[in-house]
Subunit: 260 residues, 2 copies
């Protein structure tokens, strides 16, 4: 990729763009608001910025995966079951693409089952993603089934894809947009800055604790390991994140040059 562009990796959480309790139901209102905000941002900066969008599975991925007994650790060799989970995620991906197209965003799909594999570490070749970015498209990828060494197929989370792509492509900004305004302290106030895991261990649990926060502890640990600064924020702050790179809780990057 050209070094004159900055690159943002933005995750739209599954709980944000779907109704999590209703099977395979898009939250069209939230999805449209997110797409409108992204469209306004890209419209203002057509040639300066490159964007990758990753979305979660919400009520499309989780029900299907659970029914077939597939998780990030439990695999299946039943190709029909794996294809069914992948197909459901494709339906959600199609809805996200349509929402983005409606706001003038040149979004194209990148389906992880087709490109990635778990072989110990995640293999996610980026020829297609880089070509899309170079041509001015917005790649839209998602949590999905992927083939996993000696396990058949397992679930690759959207969060893991965010981390992999941000690291491989040297993203400048990483944002997780979800239904929570950030990492919350014991009084439910947003913690504005996290520099080490110790800063949040008292609210998210120690390194050995069960992840009682619905994955927040795992997200924070993954984002702390990135070179780029990252942010966790709600939809109301998406515009601020896209314009300024900070919103909600900012997780410091390891690369001091880059993380201001």
């Amino acid at each position: 990729m050209s070094t004159t562009h900055s690159l943002t990796v933005l995750k739209l959480g599954g709980s944000l763009i779907t109704h999590k309790d209703q099977r395979e139901t898009v939250d069209w209102n939230s999805l449209d608001r997110a797409c409108a905000t992204i469209g306004t941002f890209l419209g203002d900066l057509p040639d300066e910025h490159r964007l990758i969008i990753v979305h979660g599975g919400g009520s499309f991925g989780h029900h299907n995966a659970a029914e077939h007994g597939v998780s990030s650790t439990e695999g299946s060799t039943d190709a029909r079951a794996l294809t069914a989970i992948h197909h459901a995620m494709g339906e959600l991906n199609g809805a996200v693409l349509g929402g983005l197209h409606d706001h003038g965003i040149d979004a194209l799909p990148v389906r992880p089952l087709s490109v990635a594999a778990q072989d110990g570490p995640l293999q996610f070749p980026t020829a297609s993603v880089e070509a899309m970015l170079d041509e001015g498209f917005v790649p839209v990828t998602h949590g999905d089934v992927v083939v996993d060494d000696r396990k058949g197929g397992t679930i690759l989370s959207g969060d893991d894809i965010v981390v992999s792509l941000a690291r491989t492509l040297g993203a400048d900004r990483v944002g997780l947009c979800s239904t929570v305004p950030g990492v919350l302290d014991d009084d439910d106030a947003v913690i504005s800055q996290v520099d080490t895991y110790d800063d949040v261990a008292s609210v998210l649990g120690g390194s050995d604790a069960t992840d009682v926060t619905g994955g927040m502890a795992h997200k924070v640990r993954q984002l702390l390991a990135l070179d780029a600064a990252a942010a966790i924020f709600a939809l109301d702050d998406l515009s601020q994140f896209l314009e300024h790179g900070t919103a909600g809780t900012v997780i410091s990057g390891h690369d001091e040059e880059r993380s201001h």
Copy 2:
């Protein structure tokens, strides 16, 4: 991949598995016969053989691509149009997967737009395909839209994918199953063996001629450049090809050891 396995790349032509004159119409009869034959073959040889299936677009790809003015040379930057062509190919891919599943074949999709890119030569990273083969799955890929350097998105043909994967993965056998029984001579008899293009120039046209044979001249040239021997044959000969590696017209490989 393990070297104890042999690898076949099999193309199911778009004209074979769809009704080419009826928009987006699967030829269920032909598709089911092909899937049944493949299922019988794999059932007899569960651990010895690895198979990749590539299918063409037929009446799913061609109408859509033509409507949007997209071809292998003419690109489009309209993401909604590119997504529509890709979506139509996904419908056909889903039908092929379903047919294979019905015959007990552990088939999984590999969508080229997600993994490949044209950057002068075709880039088609094979991490996902190799992982599928290692886990005993049958990757099923197809002609598709791919992003093309400075052109937006163009059409990548199933034939080009066959050649790319056969070369990258060192396929032992390559077969093109279509509606014709092979390369035909002037009396419409099947030419059993082609060692050089000169053998067929009189019926397919010289190197400068327009490809009046619906792409057959291009197919023969591509297959002659492969190390593996290749065959062009009709559905009636699919079983023979899978069992013996020869059927219809055999195109000699460059690798004499491999091409017997």
